[in-house]
Amino acid sequence: MRTLLAAAASNGTARTLTIILFLLFVAATLAITVWASRQTKTATDFYAGGRSFSGFQNGMAIGGDYMSAASFLGIAGMIALYGYDGFLYSIGFLVAWLVALMLVAELLRNSGKYTMADVLAFRMRQRPVRTAAAVSTITVSIFYLLAQMVGAGALVALLLGIREGTTFLGMDADTAKVATIILVGALMIIYVTVGGMKGTTYVQIVKAFLLMGGALLMTVLVLAHYKFNLSALLGDAAAASGKGEQFLGPGLRYGVEVPGDALQTFYNKVDLLSLGIALVLGTAGLPHILIRFYTVPTAKAARKSVLWAIGIIGVFYLFTLALGFGAAALVGSQAIIEQDKAGNTAAPQLAQALGTDLLGGEVGGAALLAIIAAVAFATILAVVAGLTLASSSSLAHDFYASVIKDGQATEQQEVRVARISAFVIGAVSIVLAIYAQNLNVAFLVALAFAVAASGNLPAILYSLFWPRFNTSGALWAIYGGLISAVVLVFFSPVVSGSSSAMFPNHDWQWFPLSNPGIISIPLGFLCGWIGTLLSREKNAEKYAELEVRALTGAGAH
């Protein structure tokens, strides 16, 4: 009884401390945002942070943009509950950066200006290609945004310990969820409309340092607990998982073997391959990542920023390995599942356990829990701001300025529209997230990667490397990849026809895989090829300009 009371008291302390730390982060980032707004005068400032960031700064910001709550809490939780497969998932996220490094970052930086469409439409007819690029950018960003915001709502209730039947500041768990979604949405709108790319970049840099610091601290504590013996940590985790050595190998979460059902086993394994391909090829087609390459002055700086990003992201996933297995060993899957079935609270729970054991009892536990919970909030905010910026940039620069105004809009008009777009996209996302808050939308992150890999990547690669590529090919690639990925997922078991689906009580499922990539990515490339051959359009002069600019940086913005 006494320990229960003490735990409740320390939860109260942790909650207060979490809120204080979170408010500190919000205050600091808002101050940065206001400062950044004073430095934001031109369209280049708003869209690309004045191209004034160094490779190191941008590398950190890329890390801050990329390592979402799904990475931090999701992968740690997946390792804690399913062991090795969580690690397998994180590897796809890392290896993907080689595509961005070698094939996309520098060439895009040299030939584009503000958005992905600048490169896609370079030698094409502007209106149709920019419309397609804007549609794809907004679709990918909104999917990703929704997953983050719904996740944020659920997390806050968990991290603040608001359970069914209890209240916090007069809010029950459901009200707190809605309040969080609105708060997160309002903050991201402020970061983007006020601070533009500069403000957003600094928010992401600060978040990257906080996240790396928090993850490093916990990793060191976990390893210290095991006297830096990795094998002992793994052994303990396997024993505590109740699954034994199986926990340390692949197969508990992905590519699950269903006894007596050879067909389902086959589908599960193909699904794993499909996921792997989408993760590796998706990153270099994510618009919110691509626009980060415009924030540095040169292609060399873009290269350097990807190198820093690979470093920070790689080290971070190595940390999550320790965090996930640490949570499995020191918290235990039972206690984790009790808090959250998906394991999203494994990392915060581990923080509490580590703090209690190693940093001085209940107070230490509450303090470390609060730090990690605040880091998780910061993580969500930085990612959603990047997504909002990417979609509003595309709406203003691609759709408004080029399609509606036919390239006749002034800089001021464009930036004003970008700000309004950020507000509208933010508001729409808030409404959608509130509507979707009780649906299982975790699959939307994988879907965003699949769309990026199926539609955007073929269009980008063909644009940069294939002289014959043309308007028709670009439209076929983008729409073909986008539509096939979305349609296949719509008829997949993650949307209907299974107990864990978005709509568990309906069943229109016929596509057996949760991840469409293995079909939709080749289809996107094929569509781009067919579409190109169907049209006679070919602009040798513009391709010469694109290629020379992309490879040498001549005439770069």
């Binding site: 950066w97 070698m102 340390l248 992905y254 490397f465 002069e541 010469a544």
Partner: protein
């Protein structure tokens, strides 16, 4: 399209942009030096992309279909699956470092020279 070699109507927008006549892009694209740069880039990045993709695919395929092999213990509780996964980190870091060294030594000097010629006259002025 004008026929002289002076820059066409400058399309200076937000600064930093140099107006370069489109014919000059064509002649640079057809130059031997540029062809060398293109080949040097593609000769590195295409095979390397294929290589790391196959290496990663091998890892995922083994994770799906060769679980017995992946579970073989090497030292204590450390099994082949873990080592294979960590090797993906190592290979990613190595390829990134290798590429940046190659780009810095082989690609950048040529690219800089061509850009310099294009932007600072090179017959244009």
């Amino acid at each position: 399209m004008s026929t002289n070699t002076s820059p066409a109507a400058p399309v200076l927008g937000d600064g930093g942009e140099t107006a370069i006549h489109s014919e000059r892009y064509l002649s640079v694209q057809n130059s031997e030096e540029f062809a060398k740069l293109r080949t040097a880039l593609r000769r590195f990045v295409f095979p390397m992309t294929v290589a790391f993709f196959l290496w990663y695919a091998l890892y995922v395929i083994l994770s799906a279909y060769a679980r017995g092999f992946m579970s073989v213990k090497v030292a204590g509780h450390i099994n082949i699956a873990l080592i294979f996964g960590l090797l993906q980190f190592v290979s990613t870091f190595l390829i990134a470092w290798f590429y940046s060294r190659y780009a810095g030594r082989t690609l950048d000097p040529v690219a800089d020279r061509i850009r310099g010629e294009l932007e600072n006259g090179g017959g244009g002025r």
